[in-house]
């Protein structure tokens, strides 16, 4: 009887763990584009961006970032150019004019959202 209750509670905890994890990843996904745009005022290649974001505490899979960069380029927010560095060709991405405009608008939105959110949850 007692054993059953414990296992039920453990299962409940795992459930919460699972739900929290999925919502955190949803929150992160929403901010990802802002992170990427914020780093690309100067040209960077994909993997250097992966490393930089990880250093800054925003880990992201290369397999997620690379397709995202392409999609942003397709939307004309980024431009890209192939360049040789360390005798290896790499594609460098950087903000286009549209990208800059979009980035500053998103930043403004972010700040107002953060202050509203802080008022709500603090």
């Amino acid at each position: 009887m007692k054993k059953e209750m414990i296992s039920e509670r453990m299962f409940g905890l795992n459930d919460i763990e699972e739900i929290v994890r999925s919502y955190i990843s949803e929150l992160r996904r929403g901010t990802l584009i802002l992170c990427v745009l914020s780093r690309l005022d100067e040209p960077k290649y994909g993997y250097s961006l992966v490393q930089e974001l990880e250093e800054k505490g925003i880990p992201i899979d290369a397999g997620t970032l690379y397709p995202l960069l392409r999609r942003l380029e397709k939307q004309n927010l980024l431009s890209s150019i192939w360049e040789l560095t360390d005798s290896r060709p790499r594609r460098y991405y950087f903000l286009s004019d549209t990208g800059k405009a979009v980035y500053s608008r998103l930043c403004a939105e972010w700040h107002s959202m953060v202050s509203s959110m802080n008022k709500m949850i603090s």
Partner: protein
């Protein structure tokens, strides 16, 4: 390294041709960068390769991230409608196929019960398959080419787009037009391909000896285009009923106009002497059926029968159109 090539191939083959070269180059440099990050100047071991590829994840998932296009045949928006229509169409088609199969059996008298049973099962399977395929193809085409328009309309909707709640009697249930379409499709196919089964069945001691066909296959072949036009008219009529979902002036006007066109074409087809089996009367006599009417002018009777058929059809269309007219006025708003 072969592993890398295999990994890249597994990604690339799931990506549209045009982007392959570019994405391949990109993934290759990414893998090199990742290897360099984990091994530096050292020559990477096969375990290093494996770890890097594992980190990149399932190639199918990576490819899916590159493809932001839809990878489904029928999207969630239309899936419910698709299922509803399948549920209506499949039983109709299966029923129709069984009817045709039975007529076929009656005409050809298969040798054993087994082969007759086989015919019916075959008809059910192929009917169901045809119905399923066509419904799916139509919905898939809609998904690819029309869905986008539907979405646009969805974004710009206004309150005035809200449909009026129709009076209960003004609602057209989807079963009605779909049944109409399925049965006239079956009838058209039957009329075009199996018209040798329409005629007088000559039984002797409850065994079928022959069928004396009413139509001439040759003549019917010549009027196929017109039969198809009549079928298209019917598709338009039932189609607008299906998509509007209620009686109103437009639905009734379209129905009446298509009725008039089909009526004219039907009369022209039936008036055309070549579609009738010219030797029907002599075949009848040869079979010993016409004997009792020998004294009367059989040609005249024959004439009367074909004329009568025309009258029946004209009468049918007129009744149908009057009903439409009534509904159009009654449920105008």
């Amino acid at each position: 390294m072969e592993l890398i090539d295999r990994y890249i191939y597994a990604v690339i083959k799931r990506i549209p041709q045009k982007q392959r070269a570019d994405i391949e180059k990109e993934i290759r440099t990414l893998i090199e960068d990742m290897l360099y990050a984990s091994c530096g100047e050292n020559i990477p071991s096969s375990a290093d390769y494996e770890n890097v590829l594992k980190e990149l994840g399932n190639p199918a998932e990576l490819a899916a991230k590159y493809n932001d296009k839809k990878n489904y045949l029928i999207g969630p928006e239309y899936y419910d409608t698709y299922l509803t229509i399948l549920k209506i169409v499949l039983p109709c088609v299966i029923f129709g196929s069984v009817v045709v199969a039975f007529l076929e059996i009656l005409a050809n008298t298969p040798e054993t019960f087994g082969s007759a049973f086989g015919d019916v099962v075959g008809a059910i399977c192929s009917g169901a398959f045809q119905g399923f395929t066509w419904v799916t193809v139509i919905f898939a085409l809609n998904e690819r080419f029309l869905n986008i328009k539907a979405l646009d309309a969805k974004k710009n909707w206004s309150v005035s787009d809200l449909p009026e709640i129709p009076k209960k009697e003004a609602i057209i249930k989807p079963v009605d037009p779909i049944l109409g379409i399925v049965f006239s499709a079956l009838f058209s196919i039957f009329f075009i391909f199996e018209n040798h089964l329409i005629g007088i069945y000559n039984f002797s001691e409850s065994k079928l000896i022959s069928i004396i066909p009413l139509f001439s296959p040759e003549g019917i072949r010549r009027v196929i285009p017109w039969v198809v036009v009549i079928f298209i008219m019917l598709l338009m009529k039932e189609g607008i009923k299906l998509f509007t979902g209620r009686w109103n002036i437009t639905v009734c006007a379209v129905a009446i106009i298509t009725n008039i066109i089909s009526l004219i074409l039907s009369v022209l087809i039936l008036k055309n002497n070549t579609i009738w089996n010219q030797s029907f009367l002599s075949e009848l006599e040869a079979a010993g059926i016409g004997v009792s009417i020998q004294n009367i002018n059989t040609a005249e009777i024959w004439n009367g029968v074909t004329k009568g058929l025309v009258y029946i059809i004209v009468f049918g269309y007129i009744i149908d159109s009057v009903v439409f007219l009534y509904r159009g006025i009654r449920y105008a708003r």
